[in-house]
Symmetry: C2
Subunit: 245 residues, 2 copies
Amino acid sequence: MNPTIELLKSHRSIRKFTDRKIPRKLLEELISAGQCAATSNHVQAYSVIHVVSPENRRKIAELAGGQAHVAEASDFLVFCADMKRSTEAAERAGAEVVRGMTEQLVVASVDAALMAQNVAVAAESEGLGLCYVGGIRNNPAEVAEILKLPEHVYPVFGMSLGYPDQDPEVKPRLPLASILKEDFYDDREDETQVAAFDDTMHQYYLERTGGNKESSWSKELAPLFTTKLRPHMREFLRKRGFEMK
Amino acid sequence: MNPTIELLKSHRSIRKFTDRKIPRKLLEELISAGQCAATSNHVQAYSVIHVVSPENRRKIAELAGGQAHVAEASDFLVFCADMKRSTEAAERAGAEVVRGMTEQLVVASVDAALMAQNVAVAAESEGLGLCYVGGIRNNPAEVAEILKLPEHVYPVFGMSLGYPDQDPEVKPRLPLASILKEDFYDDREDETQVAAFDDTMHQYYLERTGGNKESSWSKELAPLFTTKLRPHMREFLRKRGFEMK
């Protein structure tokens, strides 16, 4: 295993950080590395808001479901899917632009994610820790308002970044065989593979909680899909100009 | 700049590959590294189809707009957003699952992208080259049929992988200042920054084509948003069970 792959395989979310600040130069280096990720048709359909205001950090920490690290980490970034910059550039070049296509939602969300993952890898290569914060989609309209996001820009997720003050285990992943399929989507082994992974996660939760948490992958997922997680997202995206035409 | 950041910053798409094959063990290592990327609530909402059949490789190369490398590269992967495995696991755990929420489309698309970007970085760290193939969304229904994708799974993009037989330049990116914004979305400099980047790209195209290509970033974007790029995506996603409720 080469050192880069070793780095990728040692990822875990960090939610407790020391007081040490990330130098501005390094932060810029991480974003530059992010920009070098592949981007659909060179569109670069993303913007990153670096939230500096302590008050806004506290507000977003609350809006994201009370995640203290959002306010406490050295830095907090919001990765936005951005169809504004590129469509306006196309208009200035004489195009009659059509906005709000579903394809544009996919392009911009994927572009933002590829970019962010490069930022994450670059950060970890410098000894930093991070936590993705999908929780900003709990209250995306409020987050968009705080960040004064214009139409055709939406906040996909946040990222807390800083020097780690904890050293959690790497969380297990599904068996490779259940993810990687040859030639077609074969799900005949799905139930068996998930059952095996449920055992793995059951053991993992027991060990991490001194025997107090009886759970499994499937049990942890169950409430996610029953409560219609974030049912406001459709209307929120529509209002932001991602009409899903 | 540490070697990992240097690697990230040296990314460029590779579309010509030597005949050398990627060893199966290495391919599995890349996918494992992909699985270690962050995933929303541990859902791991992705599957990867490794397309081995030469006939299917040729078909997909055509469906993606005639991209020869899809058929010629050592390996071709299709990264799918997968809400089937996790929602079925939740059902077996007793949940009354609600499918087709817009939030689930975002979660699964982002999960697949974070995962794929780790695969890309791992591949490049081993001297491989790659090209993302968003072009499979030109004809996503046909691609889904070839791969026998079930409901609640959709093909987000492909990836050609192999040993590079070309050494293209790194393509310039927008200035950092236009991507990274402090505290709020400030677009007052947008037009100026884009104009400067148009100059950069104008120069880049001239140099790469021996003076034959007169273009810019904005000019290249213009046709993308006028032709209603991939207007079938909404209906396609709806039929696949991503109803956008």
